[in-house]
């Protein structure tokens, strides 16, 4: 007699689910996880737990496996296939995210891993919700060949189409090499972790073969390299945890998509605060530098300024802050570095930031103290004309509320570029210390009065006299104010309240550009 095998009960079926989930959580095994954690790095799931609000994460595609049969891969499968994907909340706001698991196949990109990532990207764009990628991957799953490359490109395409639709944030928390770098590079912000993250198109070995250069991973593409030299990295973090918490901070400033507004956070800082110390922050001598960061921190809510690209192109400052709870993007010249001159790097840095703010409805507040563009062959030969134009283009194109405060110098073309009235600046203020002119007095006098100076008995005295006369006439904000290029000359102490009043009046601003496929920004 055949013994009847009883069909599995419901309890048995639940047990099977439990076992499968446990298997997925084990990944490639505890040994691999342990090895991954030795360098002080967190696992893919630990990172997710820190990033999102406790208990809010819902994982998708936990049971996905790869389908490759090449090189005996069909015998090596792990549930989840090297990436954790899903959704959760950050400060109560929804996000979609993926976190690559280096302990499974080195986090390498397989066709199925790409499919998992694509799935959440599509969901994010349909729902107008930010995407966060935590990258930790050795690169393509070589065993899968071109299928893996196809997976990458499918992700790139989505990065591009969702650019300017939902905020995209990338954290590099391990290696990120070759094709893998292009997804983060298209996203809006790149975070890197000191000492444990690397990004390069070709690694040190290839570099040595091709150019004979000996260079370490850290030097070639470490976090400090990219945050100081290349500008690829926007935010530098001390360790994994710091990186994840920084992402949470940044998200607090951003709207979920390009239609909704950024969150307004309650603040205890008074909107009509008068900051008397600002009345003496501009030095008496126009040649003396001062720290523009101090000025920014005085006027914003609770002195809180989240600087972007803190270590790169320091002659311009960009970052997020709040005025009366409202998110703004701050752009400011830094007189302490290169006298605040605009150069190639500074123009690129600020232009990209302005375009991000414009895409996501974040008003832009600009503090101007700029003596002009940086002169020199280095700048000209590397195309300051093209790159400087990016900044001009970005300001001109932006339709979000734009408020400008000229604290001191606004000379020449740089005056025009820095959110001037002529580029649709909405409200343009100047301090009484502002000097709005074509150039500095010395240079101007040498040109205008060339023959007078040459013909004078004492050329130096003549030049000095003429310079003083020029300074009296032009080194002030009043001519610009007469022309209406400056809306109000304000007492510096009133900066905060004026900005807040202006933002309030501009909150329903409607402005647009003519319909087009896209403009042709000078890239």
């Amino acid at each position: 007699m055949n013994e009847q095998i009883a069909p599995p009960s419901t309890a048995d079926k639940l047990k099977i689910l439990e076992l499968k989930n446990a298997e997925a959580l084990r990944g490639a095994g505890l040994d691999k996880i342990k090895k991954h954690k030795t360098a002080g790095r967190l696992t893919a799931r630990e990172r997710v737990e820190i990033l999102v609000d406790p208990g809010s994460f819902v994982e998708l595609d936990r049971l996905v496996t790869h389908r490759s049969t090449n090189f005996g891969m069909d015998k090596k499968k792990f549930l989840g296939d090297g990436v954790v994907t899903g959704f959760g909340t950050i400060n109560g706001k929804a996000v979609y995210l993926y976190s690559q698991d280096f302990s499974v196949f080195g986090g390498s990109m397989s066709r199925t891993q790409a499919n998992k990532i694509i799935k959440i990207m599509d969901l994010a764009v349909k729902n107008g919700i930010p995407i966060i990628g935590l990258n930790d991957s050795g690169g393509a799953r070589i065993q899968e060949g071109v299928e893996s490359l196809g997976g990458y490109a499918d992700i790139f395409l989505r990065n591009v189409t969702s650019s300017g639709v939902v905020p995209q944030i990338s954290a590099i928390m391990g290696p990120c090499a070759g094709g893998a770098v292009y997804s983060p590079s298209i996203t809006d912000f790149i975070f890197m972790v000191k000492n444990t993250s690397y990004m390069f198109v070709t690694g040190p070995d290839v570099v040595k073969t091709v150019t004979q250069e000996e260079v370490s991973m850290e030097e070639l593409g470490g976090a400090s390299t990219h945050s100081q030299k290349s500008g690829v990295c926007h935010f530098l973090a001390e360790d994994d945890k710091h990186c994840l918490l920084l992402i949470r901070e940044l998200l607090n400033f951003l709207p979920p998509n390009n239609v909704d507004d950024p969150p307004i956070l309650p603040t205890k800082d008074k909107s009509n605060r008068v900051d008397v110390e600002l009345n003496s922050i501009i030095p008496d001598s126009p040649k003396k530098p001062y720290d523009m960061i101090n000025l920014i921190k005085i006027v914003v809510d609770e002195g809180y300024f989240l600087e972007v690209h803190q270590h790169w192109a320091k002659n311009i400052i960009v970052g997020f802050a709040r005025f009366n709870g409202r998110s703004v993007g701050v752009v400011a010249n830094q007189p302490q570095v290169l006298a605040g001159c605009l150069n190639i790097q500074a123009s690129i840095k600020a232009a990209r930031f302005i375009r991000f703010c414009d895409a996501f409805n974040i008003p832009i507040v600009t503090f101007v103290d700029v003596p002009g563009f940086l002169p020199g062959t280095d700048q000209e030969w590397n195309g300051i004309i093209t790159h400087g134009a990016k900044l001009l283009y970005a300001y001109a194109e932006a339709t979000v509320p734009k408020i400008t405060i000229i604290t001191r110098k606004a000379y020449g073309g740089a005056y025009d570029v820095m959110s001037s009235k002529h580029l649709r600046g909405d409200i343009n203020f100047a301090y009484p210390t502002a000097e709005i002119a074509v150039m500095g007095a010395g240079g101007a006098v040498n040109i205008i009065f060339r023959s007078e100076i040459a013909g004078a008995k004492n050329t130096e005295t003549e030049r000095a006299n003429l310079t003083r006369a020029y300074e009296e006439q032009f080194n002030n904000p009043y001519i610009a104010a007469e022309l209406g290029y400056i809306d109000e000359v304000i007492e510096p102490a009133m900066t905060r309240s004026r900005i807040i009043q202006s933002l309030e009046m501009l909150k329903n601003k409607k402005d647009s550009n003519p319909p087009k496929k896209h403009g042709n920004i000078p890239l």
């Binding site: 729902n127 107008g128 979920p256 239609v259 909704d260």
Partner: protein
């Protein structure tokens, strides 16, 4: 009578003085630092003046500022409370110079008792028993060894200007003496800018018993019996009672008499306290120090004697003779005071912050002197004591029962408090039988934090359960925002033309 008195203090003691003033029809002037802008003494006084930033050095200890306020407000006298400037002879002198009355002893009184070594000498001459010890400061190791051998081990090394447990070292073995000497000296130097130290015999089973005395400008001095303050943590009192459960009547009389004699010897004026160390085995007692001010625990004396000490302080400051004779002062019933502090009940680490809710005990024979109200803050910079719960009873047993009941009613949230510690002590057998010493908390409570389970009240568990329930409960859906601009646009686009 004074027209106006400035209270140069904060917290509950400022309130205590303001209340006495109001009862006498005297105007009260409060002073406050940045941190105390919303403190209760500011609200309750007739006038209040800001005297500087939060650090005491720049506010409550700023003599010039306080004198300024006196002039501005037209105050004629200053009550210093306890702590801060209460035992500062320079302050007393500075007031005198400005023709302002210091409600307290004379500068000479303060000076005489301020230096512990000097006080010891004066007391010895007045016939007050002194713990055997070095006749003066000890500087070298040889000197210290000689003294220690003469008075017998164990000994304690004390910094001359020390207090609050700082600059003290107990030595059980002679070979530990040099390092202990160094440690006491360096602590004295660090905390009090003075490395003078002296040596005394160390008393193993000590009780802290003190005598309240009162003198007037006519030379009358009386005592108002004792207070026992042996329940201490980190050398600071937490529970005090009067009368002491272990003082035989004849020793009580003797202590009182000696204290009166000693106070007369220095011509003491005002309220003062002689602190004695009492050996519970031998029933010997020795002079420790004299506090030339009102004590934190003065209310228990008020409860058993029926005398308002602050009112009397004001009368004496006016030059009036004491309003009672020694024979008229009776100790009636029993009184206990519990100090409620903003601190962790196990580690005693201060827990400053904002008080969310507070409820004071009520009912017969209960008095609460405190400055907490819902929403008030306990600043980090000052003493963590928030309130004193004082009860009176016919006898000690009734008094303990009443205090236990009062503490059950006392409730304070938002910060940590030591209420659970107080309740634990009150039902500890060693406390109940009265044989506790100053080491009681350290030796019988702190070693076993589990002891708190006896007083754990179910409300903690209920509160935890409610919080957990609320966390797990799904969000209130009625408040969810159902539309966003993204959604509106998506809907519009999704419609067919």
């Amino acid at each position: 009578m004074f027209k106006k008195i400035l209270v140069a203090n904060r917290g509950e003691i400022a309130l205590r003085v303001i209340r006495a003033c109001r009862e006498l029809g005297i105007g009260s002037v409060a002073v406050y630092s940045d941190a105390d802008r919303n403190s209760l003494h500011v609200a309750l006084a007739d006038e209040a003046y800001h005297i500087g930033p939060t650090p005491s050095k720049e506010s409550y200890l700023n003599i010039a500022k306080i004198i300024d306020v006196c002039k501005k407000a037209g105050a004629e006298a200053v009550h210093p409370g306890y702590g801060f400037l209460s035992e500062n002879e320079d302050f007393a002198r500075a007031l005198k110079k400005e023709n302002l009355v210091f409600i307290g002893p004379t500068p000479e009184n303060i000076e005489a008792m301020g230096d512990k070594l000097n006080a010891r000498k004066i007391m010895q001459e007045a016939g007050v028993p002194i713990v055997p010890g070095s006749p003066g400061p000890v500087t070298t190791e040889e000197e210290a060894t000689k003294v220690a051998q003469k008075i017998g081990l164990p000994v304690i090394i004390k910094a001359s200007s020390g207090g609050g447990g700082k600059g003290m070292r107990i030595v059980h073995k002679i070979e530990d003496l040099p390092s202990a000497l160094r440690a006491a000296k360096s602590e004295g130097l660090n905390f009090f800018k003075d490395d003078t130290v002296y040596i005394e015999r160390y008393i193993g089973n000590p009780k802290h018993i003190e005598i309240q005395i009162f003198g007037d400008s006519q030379g009358n001095v009386v005592h108002l019996y004792e207070r026992e303050c042996s329940i201490q943590r980190r050398h600071q009192k937490v529970i005090e009672e009067s009368p002491s459960p272990s003082l035989p009547p004849e020793i009580r009389e003797k202590m009182g008499e000696i204290s009166v004699r000693a106070a007369k010897a220095i011509g003491y004026i005002g309220a003062g306290t002689f602190e004695f160390i009492f050996d519970n085995k031998t029933k010997d007692f020795f002079f420790m120090e004299m506090n030339t001010r009102l004590q934190v625990e003065h209310p228990i004396t008020e409860m058993v004697t029926g005398i308002d000490l602050v009112r009397e302080q004001i009368f004496v400051a006016l030059g009036r003779p004491l309003s009672f004779k020694q024979s008229e002062i009776k100790q009636t019933g029993h009184s206990i005071e519990c100090r409620i502090c903003a601190e962790d009940p196990v580690t005693f680490i201060p827990s400053p912050g904002t008080i969310r809710r507070c409820r004071n005990p009520q009912g017969p024979f209960i008095r609460v002197d405190g400055y907490a109200y819902p929403g008030s803050t306990v600043p980090m910079e000052y003493d963590p004591m928030i309130a004193k719960v004082i009860v009176w009873g016919d006898n000690r047993e009734v008094c303990i029962q009443r205090m236990k009941r009062a503490l059950l009613e006392t409730n304070m949230t938002g910060i940590k408090t030591n209420i659970v510690l107080l309740r634990t002590i009150l039902q500890h057998p060693t406390f109940i039988d009265g044989h506790y010493t100053t080491q009681f908390v350290e030796k019988e409570i702190s070693v076993n934090p589990d002891i708190f389970r006896f007083v754990l009240d179910e409300s903690f568990l209920i509160a935890a359960a409610i919080t957990a329930y609320n966390d797990r409960k799904s969000k209130d859906t009625s408040r969810l925002k159902i539309t966003t601009r993204w959604k509106d646009m998506a809907r519009l686009k999704g419609l067919r033309n």
